[in-house]
Symmetry: C2
Subunit: 262 residues, 2 copies
């Protein structure tokens, strides 16, 4: 029997983390997550790999077109081939699971009718509007640089997979260092594929990489208009003047021993 083209929401999936404990709240997951540099060889159980994929596929997409595609590489020989195509990063060969996130230019056009029809069947659209919405979608997407749209969408699903893996007590490393042509060649992907990112999943080897800090909300978040910098409730500092953005550009272009104290 041919498998179904569509799936429902996940029903069967692990309800504990890989250690048998309850899942941490997402807030704690985000505090604990680090990009892992080195992995142990301990395998990731099949049911976790499957759940990570299935939950990732629940991500939203424009017109539900789901342009993301994934290649899961678990066999050692293949991971080593992937490592070579990925700037020889050791974690690619070390991690028991690597997900290659990619997209195939225009492949969404092969699915658009089936997706809209499935939507109608599930009450998410009206039959007599399918053709009109399809035209709108095609007009919208044909004006778009394809690579941007594919990257934008695929990262929603891949980020979801990363966070689900972390919530399940696994460690992850997202990667953008690879030779797209080599990945396409090595794994027989269509030539028009956009290779978007790799995600390594497994168990981190200690020690984990130190936390590098994050640009402050007051630096990169604006309120109501550009230049009106975010003021956190926590520090209660005065609002920052609009000209700040320009100033930073001048101040930060050299290594400045005092910059860290700002």
């Amino acid at each position: 029997m041919k498998p179904a083209l569509f799936e429902d929401k996940p029903v069967r999936f692990p309800i504990t983390d890989v250690n048998g404990g309850p899942l941490k709240p997402l807030t704690q997951v985000l505090i604990d997550r680090r990009a892992t540099s080195h992995f142990k060889s301990d395998p990731v159980p099949d049911e976790y790999v499957e759940a990570i994929l299935r939950f990732g596929l629940q991500a939203p997409s424009g017109y539900n077109l789901q342009p993301w595609r994934f290649l899961v590489v678990r066999e050692m020989e293949n991971r080593l081939r992937l490592q070579k195509a990925a700037l020889d990063q050791p974690k690619v060969g070390e991690a028991p699971v690597i997900i290659v996130a990619f997209a195939i230019k225009d492949d969404w056009k092969n699915y658009v009718d089936a997706i809209f029809q499935e939507g109608v069947r599930r009450g998410a659209g009206k039959a007599d509007q399918v053709e009109k919405i399809k035209e709108m979608a095609i007009d919208f997407l044909d004006e778009f640089p394809s690579a941007v749209w594919l990257n934008r969408h695929t990262m929603i699903a891949l980020t979801t997979m990363m966070l689900v893996a972390e919530a399940y007590g696994l460690d992850t490393a997202p990667m953008e260092g690879f030779d797209p042509g080599a990945v396409i060649e090595e794994f027989g992907l269509p030539k028009e594929s956009e290779i978007i990112a790799l995600l390594a999943i497994g168990f981190a080897k200690e020690p984990e990489k130190a936390y590098g800090g994050r640009l402050a909300l007051s630096e990169i978040v604006y309120r109501e208009k550009f230049g009106r910098n975010w003021v956190s409730q926590e520090d209660g500092t005065a609002e920052v003047a609009p000209e700040k953005a320009e100033k930073v550009a001048e101040e930060d272009t050299t290594i400045n021993p005092s910059a860290q104290d700002r």
Copy 2:
């Protein structure tokens, strides 16, 4: 006092959802999440907006460069201006919080030195390698189409914000329908900004949009090489032949009443 350029991991943030209950596991969040079509006017408390932003900023990025920037629009008048720039979608005017995710071409270059230096200070890099890694990063990024790289990264942070908001019991709607030039003009963003997505956050008006289904793992996930389709443990169907990808292309380009049963 000038605010600090860098922040630590979140320390103070709401530990219950907006109804005072415990946060759902991420798995449940993903099952429950729907793209919201209409919002009530109920406000999102400040501390939740701040937590959503701060947790989003914990997302990983290449070389920790964090090229994402965010504009938070909450004032009614501004939401209505944004709605006009966003194909007049009513949810933009309805939702009490809209986050505009954007990036400024080359703005990361203004921060690269400070970021690497902060990394050294926190033990995430070695002082004598900063210059070498900086050169590597600049070489890598200069070869890249800037819009692709900015979109790819910014969606990691925005997806994180979406899921944190959902975990806090809020409803969200990610949007890609807008006129980037109009958004830039209306909110005084730099001309070289890439407007990447909007995220509406608030409380959904019932009824929520029906679930449109998802393309099956066996359709868009491959094992070890392209064409070797994923076989779920759940359905136990036989492995699908490599030529399937081509076949689907032929079958799905017309609306086919039986397609939904595949």
